[in-house]
Amino acid sequence: MKRLLPRPFTTGALFLLWLLINQSLSPGNLLLALVLAVGIPLLTSPLQPLPDPRPVRPLVLFRLLSFALVEIIRSCFNVSRIILFVKPDKVKSQFMRIPLDLENPYGLAMLSCLINTTPGTVWVEILPGSRELALHVFDLHDEQWWVDTIKTRYEKPLIDIFEGGSPA
């Protein structure tokens, strides 16, 4: 089982994706989806050195994603307002540092996706030689607020999801 299905998540995602793109549940498409979903991970799993993530606590994940969605919409309107009505030289956009505790690569990838999808913030990099994240914020008013939001709203659920021990 382990040899045939090295990456159950990739398999499931590919299966669903094939059916989604073709928009059908006919036997032929199901068979083709199955072949692709088993075959592609067999060929590509040596390229990925990390094992699949073990997602625990789907509830926390759901809460995190819904918070991120609200945040995306809210900051989208903020950014639109600034672009339309504020004079560009009044906008205080700058880099800032945020200390991180998260270590799991999947968690970091997801954190960077969430931060970058939110308009108004761009993840630059984790500064080499330290555990600090360089972040560029479009309109920075309160540095501490950003640190607190990212630490408590984004990072803590991710630590729970990816590094929290046994499934809840």
């Binding site: 989208c76 672009i83 560009p88 906008v91 996706c113 999808t117 308009p119 993840w123 990099e125 479009f138």
Partner: protein
């Protein structure tokens, strides 16, 4: 435009609303790209067009085709998921390229130094 005439009002209204909203957001995003003064601010303009503008249009498309063909048409979800996964990668790489290039070129007026995270190499 076949079958549009008998589209019920409860779907025509949200589709129109989403289309107009998405159009406005895309317009504002591109305006930001054109009008903001430096690169580090400009990169935030298209971000709203890509996430929310494309999201609005894709939801409108899903709704429209689902009702028009009276079956569930959700394959636009594939595009949404793809955009949500790739747009962050693009903006992160671009940001990194800009920071490295500005630091290496040693230009002072680019805004790369704001916030004291990155410092230009000392003048010799």
């Amino acid at each position: 435009m076949n079958g549009v005439e008998n589209l019920p009002a409860w779907v025509a209204l949200p589709v129109s609303f989403l289309l107009i909203l998405g159009g406005c957001i895309i317009f504002i995003g591109a305006l930001g790209l054109l009008r903001l003064p430096n690169f580090y601010q400009r990169i935030h303009g298209p971000a709203i067009a890509i996430t929310l503008g494309a999201g609005c249009l894709l939801i409108a498309s899903m709704l429209y085709f689902s009702v028009l063909q009276s079956r569930i048409v959700i394959h636009e979800l594939a595009i949404s998921i793809f955009i949500l996964m790739t747009a962050p990668v693009v903006s992160m790489l671009l940001m990194r390229a800009a920071v490295y290039r500005d630091l290496r070129a040693g230009k002072h007026d680019t805004g790369a130094e704001s916030g004291d995270v990155y410092r230009l190499p000392a003048e010799k």
